[in-house]
Symmetry: C2
Subunit: 306 residues, 2 copies
């Protein structure tokens, strides 16, 4: 029976590519491991898989009785629903430490870097396993995605060096150009059902007992959302009610202007004031320089809800 490597719900490119890269590494080391996904893939991730010749990982949401590696998260709410009935063999992640616990010793690689795949590259180096060309390409794209082509404040020198090394292995001469191509795919939001857009990169957090959902859409130009704002508001309000959430935030991130417009539906009227020192106008606020949910949005919010 193989083990599985699985990222978070509403998988992003990092979750998928790190599951693929870790599975190859563990399998090469003699421990058969299969990548899995907890949900549908985004156009960006499909672009990466297609570009480097990968099938979609198996859609699998139940892991009772199986061995799993958790990648790109460590919060129970973001993982498989029956995580308690699985044996967690390892966690590879670059977020704050969440509330997953285990009853047996395991392998954990967590680093304060921009992308899980940067850590997986360290693992390949540690175990002295060669990275196949196509896996290197997928890992590289995941790092470009998570670091917003090195612009995110979460990006570290380790991420940049890692992209350089992976580009060389994959035989890609201009990594940044491929990154822009990828973000152009990501920016093509027209024609997508509103709910699909809102959930494209959506994460729930348990913040001191309050359920907070935060979605993010990263695009090359925010103007693309001009005619959709009301629909987006209506949908995150629905999402809040459906999930009994305390707050739903939607970050519309302009990767060229390097900032985010935040749409807010919350039980706390002064939420953004307390967390970010900015007053809401018509349920919206522009946060200059804010590109990272993990580093710039979640920590002040979590502290303000303490």
């Amino acid at each position: 029976m193989p083990n599985y490597a699985v990222g978070h719900k509403t998988p992003d490119s990092d979750s998928i590519c790190s599951a693929i890269a870790l599975s190859y590494l563990k399998t090469t080391l003699g421990e058969e491991t299969v990548p899995a996904r907890l949900g549908e893939l985004s156009p960006e991730t499909l672009f990466i898989l297609d570009k480097f010749g990968f099938e979609q990982p198996e859609l699998k949401t139940s892991f009772a009785g199986e061995g799993i590696y958790i990648v790109d998260h460590s919060d129970r709410i973001q993982g498989p629903d029956d995580i308690d009935e699985a044996t967690i063999l390892g966690i590879i992640d670059h977020h704050k430490l969440g509330d997953i616990t285990t009853s047996t010793p395991l392998e954990i690689w967590v680093r304060p870097v921009g992308c899980t795949n940067t850590i997986i590259k360290m693992m390949y180096d540690f175990y002295d396993v060669e990275i196949p060309k196509n896996i290197a390409g997928a890992m590289m794209c995941a790092i470009l995605s998570d670091t917003v082509i090195f612009k995110s404040p979460t990006c570290t020198t380790a991420d940049i060096k890692c992209v350089e090394a992976l580009a060389e292995i994959a035989g890609i001469s201009d990594a940044k150009a491929l990154g822009m191509e990828m973000f152009a795919v990501k920016s093509a939001v027209l024609g997508t059902p509103i709910r699909d857009l809102v959930l494209r990169d959506f994460k729930d957090f348990n913040m001191h007992g309050n359920l907070v959902g935060i979605g993010q859409l990263e695009v090359l130009d925010l103007a693309i959302f001009d005619d959709m704002k009301l629909e987006l508001f209506a949908d995150i309000a629905k999402l809040k009610a459906e999930g009994n959430r305390h707050t739903v935030l939607l970050l519309l991130t302009d990767i060229m202007k390097e900032g985010s417009e935040m749409l807010v539906i919350s039980d706390n009227a002064d939420l953004t004031e307390k967390a970010y020192g900015k007053t809401l106008v018509d349920g919206k606020v522009w946060l200059d320089g804010v590109l990272s949910r993990k580093k710039q949005v979640v920590p002040p919010l979590q502290d303000s809800l303490a």
Copy 2:
């Protein structure tokens, strides 16, 4: 303001030596870090510090507002009481993943090996920092202690290879002989107040809402406890009442016979039957082959209390 590296309450040799070794590594990398301890040291640990010329780390139990590296544990109950008011910069550990969480990304090295110092050696290799002779000696002794000179089922090839490498750095020709000398020091329990003995290597666990305290004394020959059993029982009963604990276990481990006598005071009369398939006789049970609290005692107990 420096950061701190700190192990668990009732510090053992691994907690102290890994705090010292990690502090040197981080300081060398440009991040001033000071080892600290949460309590008094055991004769074994004092023997190691004396042998390699170290002072006792600073006794420090409050870390509010400071940056800390947590070593050799990841359970809140085992760490500093005000851990929530500290900034956790990293966790280096070889136990099951406990309930510590953070609000910011951090560095975590957890491996299913026999000793935290085996992981710290990996960190030195990763960061390409040379280990000073005396730190190598202390790290080596901690591994010999945690793995019961390689006899514990928690011991891995990585631990054995690590001891070999550290012995060479420290210029020690017979590591096992030094290990036996260390366990002879550890076995000298006569004349020690009973409470000090019980708490010498004592850990509390929160098992599904039940507070369970488990002490362990590893000696070369269990006969040394023959005249102390009644006093030991009386004291763990007191300890149970004082701390409102569900259970207190005391493992008397014979490292030569390779097994443990377990003394039990518990709210569950059939605790050992459910967890270990062994019936208590006069509050005691012999568990053949059981040397490791972490690997052989805690997991079945935690499962049986679920």
